[in-house]
Every structure is written in structure tokens, then in C-alpha cells.
Subunit: 417 residues, 2 copies
């Protein structure tokens, strides 16, 4: 397998000012890696013409493929077209067909077309236009030195659509089969990254052919196994073989054996079992419901969600006995169990999850410090409740860790692993 | 004001493989910009020694300050120390004091120290160690050519702590006052990015001293004004003067005149007015509640949140009349108004917001296409309801646009702008 190299450019003042995170580049990096490209680096620069042109030239000089995002908008500060033309040593031309596409995009939206959008029909002379079905800015591709240069829009939704529709199909044509990468995921709850790493170290030392990545997010560890081969089927078989060796080494921590996110896997499992769900959330404040409804078509499974911050709401909406709240406090396994049962009974759901805890930064005590979170799960008239002391790594961490715990518990209960 | 320039490096195979997003660099970019540095670019490279050393050299050759994150771990593939020494043309030394710090970090955790962590006590000979209070990897700083080079750990929590504790205090010492940057935000709902850009173009052509950025997310436009001066007060006054000119030009679209996110601003406005809120969500599925509870201490304001996907839940939990659902359908201004009123009455809230719509990708019809979303706001026994046709730019876009609409309506009703 000849490995082709790639470089990614992200262009925009908002990125170098740190006003938004560059999510496009990690998507591109992942997809190019899966296609067998070795992504050598990512460069982020502002909109200044000189900087963009220099970054394009530097990237094109050392890799086979350069993919840029951003700077294709209709305003004066969008200069990727100009920078690419300069780096390639060509002029810009007005692309009539591109202009027709832009006008019909606006016509579909039923909006008048601002004159400034004419700018988006400019292309470097030697460039091929890449149509953009979901936005006004077409992309383009042209050779720069020995490299292929591709410019795509910076709007994440448009980029994702054009990556699939325009870029990936061209890669085979340009480079032939550049090999395939198969990825497999295992999700673990419990150990720290270091603990999991230490457990795996002796095995990894022997399996030098296996590429295993560990990432941690909100306390959830994701192990990613990557295997390369000339063909997708062979890469898949190699990845499966590695996972088969890996699985027994971390078995007690696995909450999902397959692709995430956990909420999507939990939804699929519920649907397959014909079970309907209710959610009763205090400290996660809607995050569980939001994660589930991120997945389209969750309405057949999610019967109801209750965000009950205040004790009154826990009693009124979930029927939690006020004496229970008085006796044990809102953050207690007793209240968590009652919340789950109340959510299930009120909505008629088959399964209910409840979370009540102290996400911080304030609200903790010596007895119940920030990070104390209680969980309830009600299923088939049986309720379970348990408590975690989540490390106080910030409010967002505690909330995300609590959501992982819920989905993990549900997946385990439904026999996921 | 002499503007100092900076370059950011992010190091790690997981980044060029696209397995996790590089959030460190946007944090660094934001904080360095606020301190008056012009961030010229960000480079992301894998762990290969040659690539890291080349990236350090290239960045140091063209800027005053280079800040790198990642590659300081205890394993063989962590090579930032070696790459910095090579780029500086010095050897590595074993730093006894650093080793003492690493051992005491493990002692505090009550964990045995793996031998591999000795590697983290290596430093380029000319480097100053930067202590890491929240992790095992110390950072370091040294001159490389005419630039200052700083290496910090890649774990986001450790990076954030060391940025405040170690890096920022050194910047004044190294560079003197590098000037200050003031940022102001205006948030607009309604126009497209191009429409807003066109409206502003004539004014921007005259005000070449003003830096105005426009970003769009979920249909919300954020205008960011940046002004630099030697002192923070002067930068602030300059930014305010630009905003005062900008404001009347976009007045009818402004939903928030100040820093976002909208949910945090809405929460502050509700609290200042002594009002308590209920949320009734269908198609946003908990996203409104989640955005509000992202902000710590929202429990005094948010009385209850109801996620009511199914019609049954709308009737049972919000008291929406089944005949209303039959007659007008779940996605109707009538039902939206009834959901808001029901949420307020059930919870005793002073204000309630309701959303019901078709987020897609399926569920649309000719009469009510995907993107049809109805909103209800109940306040002081009065209810308003309205409908939007949100462009079908995907499920996530429609949900986020719907949330912006809710917070924008609330901010307008409370007299925010």
C-alpha cells in the first residue's frame, strides 16, 4: 500500500482569534485517515491574503493532497480563491456556470441574491468547480505544484456534505486506491486513562502492528483500533482480530462494544427491545434528553422528559414524597429511585432513568461534596439506585460523566456488551 | 502599540488522525488575543520527532512567541521535549527538581510512580521548568532563535490551569505590556450572513480601522468588534465607540447587545427581573433546558422543564386539550400557546417558553414542511404564539435555530436590547 500524504488548512480570523473551535479539521483528518491518507499536519491561519497563500504553498510543497476550509464567503475578507490563484500562479476567472448555481440556490430559498455573492463565482483559471448543494459557496480543486489542492466551505454542515458528495469520490480518481483504514471502538467507564493504559501496556508492547488510541471525554474512555490494508474487507478483518484480543483485557469496564455515542446506541437497543423511556433529570438539566433527541426519530422511544431542578418540581411532576426529600435530601439514592419510578408511572414508560446530584461549582457540603450524583433506574416495576462520587473536574465534566453513567447503566441492563 | 505575534502548535497523533478536536488551541488563541498578541497561525502535527521539530522551527522563525501543547506525556511517543531541544540546538538534561515535583504529585494521588514518568523530568538544557499543579507533566520555556518557546501539557484541564498560573504572568515580564484587545459582541437573528455583510459594507469601507467579524451558528449571527490599544481601558473605549456606530445599522435584528451565549443572557435577565421560568419542549427535546442549565446556579430561575415529544405527554404533562391537538395538529401555534400556558400553570412559573416543530429529516408534509416550528411564550397571564419556517439545513440546525428563537424572543420581551 502506497500511503499518500495530506495536509489540512483551516482559514478564518475567527479561528486564530479563538472565537470558535476548528471542528472541520478533525472531521477531515478522520475521513482522510480512513481513506488511507497520512495526515501530516493541520494549519490554521487568519484571512490575510499573504498568510493564506504562504500556508497553501508550504502545504502543497510537502504533501500529495491539500484540503482547505473557509474563506469562500461573499465578503471582502474571504480570500481563499485569491490565495489559491496566487499560490498556483494563475488568474481568477468569473465562472458563469457557478454563478447560475449560486442564483438557483437563492431562488430555492426564496431570497433575493445580494450582489456581493457574485464574488463566490470567481475561480482560479485552472480550477474545477465543486458544486455545493447546501450553501452558496462552491468549492474548487486545482493542481498546485505536484499536489492536488481542494478548497471547501467553512460552514461545518456544508463542509460535511461536500466532503461526502465531492471530495471523497474524487480521491480514488486522483490517487487510485490509497488503501483503506478500518476503525473499531470500545467504550469504557470506570478506569482513568492511565489505569487503562497501564493495563494494556504489556499487550501493546507485543502487538506493535496494532494502532490503539485512547481518548477520554467526560470520564468516558474510548479505545479506537485502527488497521490498514489495501482493501476495506481486509482492513476490517484485521481490526476485528485486534478487538478480539483487546476485549477480554478490559471486559469489566466495557459499556459499549461498538460505535458511539452511547445515547444513540442506547436508543437503538431500546427500540430493538420495544421499550419506551422516560427521563427525570435534576443536575443534568435536560442534557440526557438532548443527547437522545440528537438522534432523529427518537420520538417513538422517548415518552417524556422531566427537568426537575427544584424540590417542588420533583414532588409535583414526579410524585416524589416530600417526606423523602426532607429525610434524605434531594441528592440521595432514595430520591433518585423515586424520581425514576415517578417518571415511569407518570408517562407510562417501560424504563426510566433519573439523575440528581451536585454539579457545582457551589452547593457541595462535607457530607455531599460537589460531584456527588445519585442515579435511579426503573424497569419492569423494579427500581435500582446508586451513587457516584464524580471527580470535581468542573460542572460540565460532572454533567457529562453523569449522562455517560446513565446510558452505560441502561446499555448494561439491556445486555449490550 | 507594538503588536507582538504568536504561533500556536498542537502536537499529537490523535489530532492528525481526527480522533479528537483540538480545543486547546482555540483557548490559547483567545487568551493570547485578549493579551494583545496577533495570533498568526496554528499548526497541528503528529508525534513524529522530525515533524514536531520542523513545526517549532518554522513557527519560531516568524513570530515572537510560540506556545505548544501536547507531547509531554511519559511514553515513547511523547517527543516535544526532544523536538524543542533539537530546534534550539541544545541537549536534554535530567531535572532533579522537576522529578521531585512529579514524585510528590503521585504521592498526593496515593499512587505508585511508574518508571516511565522519569522521562517527564527531562528538559532542554537552556529551559526554565513551568510547574504543573494538576498533572504529572511539567511544562517548560526557552528561547529558540529570536522567539520565546513555551511547551504546555495537552490535557485540556492541565493546560487551562497552567495557562493562567504560569504562561500569562510571564508574558508581561518577557514582552512588557503587549497591548490589550477589547472585544464586544452583538447578536442578530433574521438576516443571512451575506445580507448583514451587505448592509454593513459601505460603513466598513470607511471604517478601515475597525475589525468586525461575523460568524453564523444555528442561524444566529454574532458580530464581534475588536479594538486594540496600549491599555485595557482605552481598548474598551475604542470598541464601545465602534459598537455605537454599528448598533443603529443593524438595530432591527439585534436580539442581544452584549456577550453571549443567549441562554446565559436570558437567565441573567430573568433573575434580575425576579422571574421564574418553565420550558415545554417538543422538537428541541431538552436542548433549551440543557443550554440554560449549562450556566451554574440556574436552579433558582428554572422551575421546571418538560420534554414532550408524544401527544400524550403534551396532554398529560402540560394539560394541552386533546381536541386542540386533533384540530390543529401538534405543530401549530394553538398547541404552542397551550404548551406554554400549561407549563407555566403546572409549575407556577412567571414565564414559560414552548417549542413544537418538525426538525426532520422525516415528518414533513407539503403543508408543514421540515423546518416548520411553532413557538409559544406565556407571561403575566398573556400568551403569544408564532410560527417560523426555518430553512431545512439539517436537524441540528433547525433545533439550534429554534432555541435561538426562544431566547431571542425572551430577551426582547424582557427589554434586553
Amino acid at each position: 500500500v502506497t500511503t499518500r500524504s495530506a495536509w489540512i488548512l483551516a482559514i478564518g480570523d475567527e479561528l486564530v482569534l479563538g472565537r470558535c473551535a476548528d471542528t472541520n479539521s478533525s472531521l477531515l483528518a478522520r475521513r482522510l485517515s480512513e481513506r488511507g491518507f497520512a495526515v501530516r499536519g493541520i494549519t490554521v491561519v487568519g484571512d490575510a491574503l499573504d498568510d493564506v497563500a504562504a500556508a497553501i504553498r508550504a502545504a502543497a510543497a510537502q504533501t500529495d493532497l491539500v484540503v482547505a476550509t473557509g474563506g469562500l464567503g461573499p465578503t471582502e475578507d474571504d480570500r481563499t480563491r485569491h490565495a489559491a490563484a496566487r499560490a498556483a500562479g494563475v488568474e481568477l476567472r468569473f465562472d458563469e456556470e457557478g454563478w447560475t448555481g449560486i442564483r438557483s440556490y437563492f431562488a430555492r430559498l426564496g431570497r433575493p441574491i445580494p450582489d456581493s455573492n457574485r464574488r463566490q463565482a470567481l475561480l482560479p483559471e485552472s480550477a474545477e468547480r465543486l458544486p455545493n448543494a447546501s450553501g452558496s459557496a462552491p468549492g474548487f480543486a486545482l493542481p498546485i505544484g505536484a499536489a492536488r489542492f481542494v478548497a471547501l466551505p467553512g460552514v461545518p454542515r456544508e463542509l460535511a456534505a461536500m466532503l461526502d458528495a465531492e471530495l471523497l469520490p474524487r480521491l480514488d480518481r486522483w490517487f487510485g486506491g490509497a488503501g483503506a483504514l478500518a476503525l473499531r471502538e470500545l467504550h469504557l467507564l470506570g478506569p482513568s486513562e492511565a489505569t487503562a493504559g497501564e493495563r494494556l501496556a504489556p499487550w501493546l508492547a507485543e502487538r506493535t502492528d496494532a494502532t490503539i488510541g485512547i481518548t477520554a471525554s467526560g470520564g468516558l474512555l474510548t479505545l479506537r483500533v485502527a488497521a490498514r490494508a489495501a482493501e476495506a474487507a481486509a482492513a476490517g478483518a484485521a481490526a476485528d482480530a485486534i478487538v478480539a484480543e483487546l476485549r477480554p483485557r478490559v471486559a469489566e469496564w466495557i459499556v459499549l462494544d461498538g460505535d458511539g455515542p452511547l445515547a444513540a446506541a442506547a436508543l437503538a437497543r431500546l427500540r430493538a427491545s420495544g421499550l419506551r423511556l422516560a427521563l427525570a433529570e435534576s443536575c443534568t438539566g435536560g442534557m440526557l434528553a438532548q443527547q437522545l433527541t440528537d438522534v432523529a426519530g427518537s420520538s417513538d422511544v422517548l415518552l417524556a422528559g422531566y427537568v426537575c431542578y427544584a424540590n417542588d418540581a420533583k414532588s409535583r411532576d414526579l410524585g416524589v414524597d416530600a417526606r423523602l426529600l426532607d429525610k434524605h435530601g434531594a441528592v440521595s439514592v432514595e430520591v433518585a429511585a423515586a424520581m425514576a419510578e415517578g417518571g415511569a408511572r407518570r408517562s407510562g414508560a417501560d424504563v426510566a432513568l433519573a439523575v440528581t446530584g451536585i454539579a457545582g461549582p457551589s452547593g457541595g457540603s462535607a457530607h455531599k461534596p460537589v460531584g456527588t450524583v445519585c442515579f435511579g433506574m426503573w424497569r419492569s416495576s423494579r427500581s435500582d439506585a446508586w451513587q457516584l462520587r464524580i471527580a470535581d473536574l468542573g460542572r460540565d465534566f460532572i454533567r457529562r460523566r453523569a449522562c455517560h453513567e446513565c446510558w452505560g447503566a441502561l446499555l448494561r441492563a439491556l445486555g449490550s456488551t
